[in-house]
């Protein structure tokens, strides 16, 4: 940067910074942000809307219930409450990942409430709404039904999944 006469370098820098901040604030004010929970399932990263996830639980012992489909591994006891568990891997076409213990994300959307088995939590972040891209058409069939958007996080494309769609798929 050329040093212009009469202004101190520090003044220039200061101006730049203020400009940025302002822009950022505008951006910050203007942008609507939404919380997403980024998790890993199998080899890929997926995300849920934060509003859909009530809490994230460490691995619980899942009690198997007979006469349930494969994607419902059973029940968990969360602080006295009995919750179902969905194995989302079945819907995403992912293989079982056996690094450490899986976590259970409690998903709540309207009448639908269930735990969802995930491998690990990567992050819980706010992202601008505009950064959610529409889903790629080249996704494999299983995931495509659930994906409602694409987010970029940590250099990867993360598929944003819709709980509602998941709920629709599971109807007993």
């Amino acid at each position: 940067m050329e040093i212009s006469t009469g202004q101190l370098k520090s003044e220039l820098i200061l101006e730049e910074l203020k400009r940025r901040k302002h822009t950022k604030e505008i951006v910050d004010v203007e942008e609507e942000r939404v919380k997403v929970v980024i998790f890993a399932c199998g080899e890929n990263r997926y995300a849920f809307y934060g509003t859909d996830i009530r809490e994230i639980l460490p691995s619980f012992e899942i009690s198997w219930v007979p006469c349930l489909p494969d994607y419902l591994p059973g029940l968990i006891n969360v602080r006295g409450d009995i919750e179902s568990v969905i194995d989302i891997r079945h819907f995403l076409g992912e293989e079982k990942c056996s690094h450490g213990k899986p976590l259970i994300a409690m998903a709540v959307r309207g009448a639908f409430q269930s735990g969802i088995l995930i491998d690990s939590i990567k992050d819980v972040v706010d992202i601008p709404l505009r950064t959610i891209q529409p889903p790629l058409t080249t996704l494999n069939g299983a995931a495509r039904d659930l994906v409602i958007g694409e987010i970029e996080y940590g250099g990867e494309i993360v598929s944003l999944l819709d709980i509602e769609k998941l709920a629709a798929k599971i109807s007993l």
Partner: protein
């Protein structure tokens, strides 16, 4: 037989044809001679018979002469007119002219004729004298007849029938006729009473003679007829008549003679008639006998001639047949000989396929057979020999080849032996080197011994020091392990911290979610959640760092432990090794002693080796000698085998001279 040798010698010098000719010739001669003699014999017999016939023919006129002469005498005595005897004499002359020479009657006939000629000249003599003259003539005639019979071989007639006929004819009937005539004369004299005493005696005598003659004649005739029955037909009747008439006449005259007194004059005609009848009967008998005899003789001659012809023809046939067969024999033999000779010649020239024809069954045929067998055998032999020769030839070739090989081997052996010799010399020198070195080894062994002892002392010191190190090492090890354990505890604590951190992170996430749902009020709570999250992250990070450090420490500890253990192990091993080294040093000491000993042994052995190697060198020289002589032998063998090859080649050529059957020739 020795006797035959000259004959054999002669025969050997002749060819077969000549032999046959000679033999045949000498066989023909006797045959011819025999034939000749046979013919001559028969001819003699024929001539004999012919002469007899001549005699018989001569007798015919003599009979007439006798008859005439008797008549003449009677007539002369009785004073009757005598007939001329000229005709009969003429006959006699004729006959004599013809046969007189043959029968040698010329002289006698002349005498007889002379005597007869005198008779007519007798005139005026007594009747007695006339009677005697005539009787002399008659006797001459009778003698002539006998002479003729003698000279014409009639008296030698071989056949009984003709002999007795002849005898009757010549010696019985004529005298009988004469006797009858004389009896007649005497009887007539008696009748006329002009008889003398002697007449009666003469009569009796003559009668006796007549009877004798008649009996003899009858006996002769009987014998002849017995011999030849055909004669009886002819002769029986006349002789019976004769007998009868003569008997009658005799009876008459006899009765007259015995009469004491004169009986009275008989009619002279009757007596004469009877005398005539008797005489005629006699002459009839003679006439019968003559042709009969002649017939017999003629028959005999005919028989002889026939026989001779038969004999001649038979002998001729036999001769011809004999000649024919002989020729056949000659030819057959000659053929046989020629065949064998041909075949022999061919075989001699080498053609072994020649076969003699085995036509004849005699010894020549056998010879041909044997010859063929011989040829066959010879052929077989030659074939075998050919084969063998071939083999010999090839073997000789092989032998030659192998001998050449042998020669090669021999020279190789020679060179190998030389090499070995050289090697042995080297060996010898090497052995002495070894001997020298072994002395050096002894020195070294002793020095080793000393060094070893020093080494042993050093090792002991080393061992002590090592055990010190060992115990120090163990102490360090224990401390390090304690350190390790402590590190593990730290790790455990770290894990707990990590877990707490993770849980904290989770809580932070949940807090964030709660904050989100809490809306505006939750924003600051959200910030707090973020802070908590950050804290948790930093804890996790530092935990991980600490973990890292702990891990490093643990690694280092492990490494130390390992090293320590290694060191421990190493020390233990070192102790072991030092122990082993001690052992080894002891072994070395022993070894050195052994080495010393062995070196001495080596020295000894080396000396022995030297001896052995020089022996070997000698042996090798012997081998070389042997090889040289072997080479020599091989050369000889080679020469011989080559000669053998040549010889077998000659033999082969020799075999080739023989031509055998195509099939059987190898």
């Amino acid at each position: 037989m020795k006797i035959c040798d000259p004959a054999i010698w002669l025969m050997h010098r002749l060819t077969y044809s000549r032999k046959m000719l000679v033999a045949g010739f000498f066989f023909c001669i006797p045959i011819l001679l025999l034939a000749y003699f046979l013919v001559t014999n028969i001819r003699e017999q024929v001539e004999f018979a012919a002469k007899e016939r001549a005699g018989v023919r001569y007798v015919t006129p003599l009979r007439n002469v006798l008859s005439s002469l008797l008549d003449q005498r009677r007539e002369s005595v009785l004073g009757e007119k005598s007939l001329s005897s000229g005709k009969v004499l003429g006959e006699l002359d004729r006959i004599d002219a013809r046969l007189g020479g043959e029968l040698a009657t010329g002289e006698f006939v002349r005498t007889f004729k002379a005597r007869l000629g005198e008779i007519p000249n007798l005139h005026g003599v007594s009747a007695r004298k006339i009677f005697d003259a005539h009787t002399a003539g008659v006797n001459d005639l009778l003698d002539l007849v006998v002479l003729v019979a003698d000279n014409s071989n009639l008296t030698l007639d071989p056949d009984i029938d003709s002999y007795y006929l002849m005898d009757t004819l010549t010696t019985k009937l004529p005298p009988l006729a004469d006797a009858l005539a004389r009896i007649d004369l005497i009887a007539s004299r008696l009748m006329s009473n002009s008889s003398s005493v002697g007449d009666r005696t003469d009569l009796i005598v003559l009668a006796g003679q007549v009877r004798t003659l008649v009996d003899a004649a009858d006996k002769n005739i009987r014998v002849a007829c017995a011999k030849n029955p055909a004669l009886s037909r002819i002769l029986q009747k006349p002789f019976q008549e004769m007998d009868a008439s003569v008997a009658a006449f005799l009876k008459e005259t006899t009765s007259y003679s015995v009469a004491k007194s004169p009986l009275g004059p008989l009619p002279q005609n009757v007596m004469s008639k009877d005398a005539n009848v008797a005489g005629e009967a006699v002459f009839k008998a003679v006439d019968i006998i003559l042709p009969a005899l002649d017939g017999l003789l003629a028959e005999r001659i005919h028989t002889f001639r026939t026989r001779m012809c038969l004999y001649m023809s038979l002998s001729f046939l036999a001769f011809v047949l004999g000649v024919y067969l002989n020729i056949g024999c000659f030819l057959s033999v000659r053929e046989g000989i020629a065949s064998i000779r041909d075949v022999a010649t061919r075989v001699a020239n080498g053609d072994l396929t020649a076969e003699a024809s085995e036509l004849s069954r005699d010894e020549l045929g056998e010879m041909a057979l044997i010859f063929n067998v011989m040829t066959e055998n010879l052929r077989a032999i030659i074939i075998t020999l050919s084969g063998v020769t071939e083999k010999v030839y090839s073997f000789a070739g092989q032998l030659s080849a192998s001998v050449d090989q042998q020669a090669g081997f021999s020279s190789q052996l020679s060179s190998s032996v030389t090499e070995i010799s050289t090697t042995m010399e080297e060996f010898s020198s090497t052995a002495s080197q070894i001997a020298n070195h072994s002395h050096g080894v002894v020195d070294i062994a002793e020095r080793t011994l000393q060094g070893t002892k020093d080494g042993a002392a050093g090792v002991e010191t080393l061992a002590m020091k090592m055990s010190d190190i060992s115990s120090d090492n163990e102490a360090s090890l224990r401390e390090i392990m304690a350190l390790g354990r402590k590190s593990k505890e730290i790790t455990r604590i770290m894990e707990i911290i990590g877990t707490i951190a993770n849980q904290t992170k989770l809580i932070a996430f949940n807090a964030a979610l709660e904050a989100a749902s809490a809306g505006e009020a939750g924003k600051r709570f959200g910030v707090v959640a973020v802070e908590i999250r950050r804290l948790a992250d930093s804890v996790v990070e530092s935990t991980s760092q600490t973990e890292g450090k702990i891990t490093e420490i643990m690694d280092a500890v492990n490494r130390l432990v390992i090293t320590s253990e290694k060191g421990s192990n190493g020390i233990r091993e070192g102790l072991d090794y030092s122990g082993q080294t001690m052992e080894m040093l002891c072994n070395v000491v022993d070894g050195a002693a052994e080495t010393s000993e062995s070196a001495k042994q080596i020295s000894l052995s080396t000396q022995q080796q030297q001896i052995a190697s020089s022996q070997v060198v000698f042996a090798l020289r012997d081998i070389q000698e042997g090889t040289r002589s072997s080479s020599e032998s091989i050369r000889q063998i080679n020469g011989i085998s080559k000669e053998l090859m040549v010889m077998s080649g000659d033999l082969k050529a020799l075999m080739g001279r023989f031509s055998l059957d195509v099939v059987s020739h190898i």
